[in-house]
């Protein structure tokens, strides 16, 4: 894989669009999230609206469940008197669990099938599934995917609670939660957090939570303070070569070639943008 990336061309990479990038600012550093407006336009717009009104600033990571998710939210959400107020954004939205396949949306299909979906592949940097029978496509729950937590009703989420997958892909959540983006840098700031000891990994004491300094849309941050990244395009021969290099590992260390790859094992390389 290193050789493929070394010999890649500048056109194999794209810059992240600062209008579709969120920064989750923690004391330990910055988590960079690329948003997926093609798959969750209403949720992406609403989370950006929440960010613009500083909804998340001062809230906290309230849940870390091992091999599952990290989640941040308003710890006082259930207390009417002290819950964080929303000014212009929405608290809940209709779900965006799946959308119609559109030939204009790129789709680089993987060759080896999937346990959960008829077809899987990549649309931009996002792992997606498709069902030709229904004509629908949806984002899938791989490591690092970001979703909008909800209660039991499908329309009870809206982005005020966000979670990130930190373990084995919980694919049973596909089409049950609106996924809206993916962490492209800083996963280790989330995945190495102490696990919560309460039910479902919630922290039992307020002091165990990790405070959120701020969430920002990259475009709203002065250019000098942005994290300038490039991400490998997935609609290129270079990405096809990368997939093949992971299906059949040619390094001397490997004595057996898997000959297959599962969608959540495909890495999407990210690198600092050259000034």
């Amino acid at each position: 894989m290193a050789e493929i990336l070394t010999s890649s061309k500048p056109a194999d990479w794209r810059s992240l669009d600062p209008e579709n990038v969120l920064y989750l600012e923690l004391a330990s550093g910055r988590v960079v999230i690329e948003l997926a407006p093609d798959f969750a336009p209403q949720h992406v717009a609403n989370v950006k609206a929440l960010v613009h009104e500083h909804y998340f600033d001062g809230l906290a990571i309230v849940r870390v469940q091992d091999n599952y998710v990290v989640q941040w939210a308003d710890p006082d959400a259930e207390k009417p008197e002290s819950a964080r107020k929303i000014q212009h954004a929405r608290r809940t939205l209709s779900p965006e669990f799946e959308r119609a396949v559109d030939p204009k949306l790129p789709f680089t299909r993987l060759p080896d099938g999937d346990v959960y979906a008829p077809q899987v592949g990549f649309s931009g940097a996002f792992p997606v599934a498709r069902d030709p029978k229904t004509g629908k496509t949806w984002l899938v729950h791989c490591y690092g995917m970001v979703g909008a937590g909800r209660d039991a009703p499908a329309d009870s989420g809206g982005g005020t609670e966000l979670y990130v997958v930190i373990g084995q892909a919980p694919r049973h959540l596909d089409r049950n939660v609106t996924l809206l983006g993916r962490v492209v840098q800083g996963m280790e700031l989330l995945s190495a957090l102490p696990r919560g000891t309460g039910a479902m990994g919630f922290y039992e004491k307020p002091e165990q939570r990790t405070p959120i300094k701020a969430m920002r849309v990259a475009a709203d941050v002065p250019e000098s303070d942005r994290t300038a990244l490039e991400i490998l395009r997935t609609d290129t021969p270079t990405f096809q070569a990368l997939i093949e290099s992971r299906r059949n590992r040619l390094e001397d260390w490997f004595h057996f070639q898997a000959g297959h790859i599962e969608i959540c094992n495909v890495p999407i390389p990210v690198r600092p943008q050259k000034p």
Copy 2:
């Protein structure tokens, strides 16, 4: 799933065999590993021999690579003068990457296929794959599986370096490494460790490592100091019901039933043994 476990019978559970259980003792607590002598008899015997001669005591967790593995070893392994000596155990062994299918080995097959192997299921508490064409079976790299690190030659491992999967199942390692057990309690003591910032997640400074207080075979620990656990049998109707409850989640929260399950998403319940 909770209902299925509540209504399970005592015979649905088995005690762990203390001769096939390792304790990895850290300052933060105890990691409990069940060994797999049916799949890696030589490696299991050798790791127990290493443990008996206190090979691991005072060594350290030297590598934590995000979404991949935690590994412990002798930090001075490459320095002949200070490397930990081996007395009676072996430093290297022939690989035990796969073994012949044996009708005496239990195999509860999963119904939904697999991206990497012709058949997958459970043998005892272990996720396994089978290939009817070759007549071989092997342990697969799910979250919590324990393997013997090695250098490039297939016979360069032997159990002096052990790793545990802490991320998306790295199935390309199947049949490339000898897996010898699985963590059944204490994963969060490994998975939440700070990630190493060196190549492949190795720590760059000695003080970043997590010291190993001791490794012990449970049978060698006074009974009062053992962690008495029971694990759900996988050759029972109760386990079949559990699988079905995870393929099609009936909880109100779920609006879409996956109808499928991937091997590494099947939980193997563990509970304290009643005195």
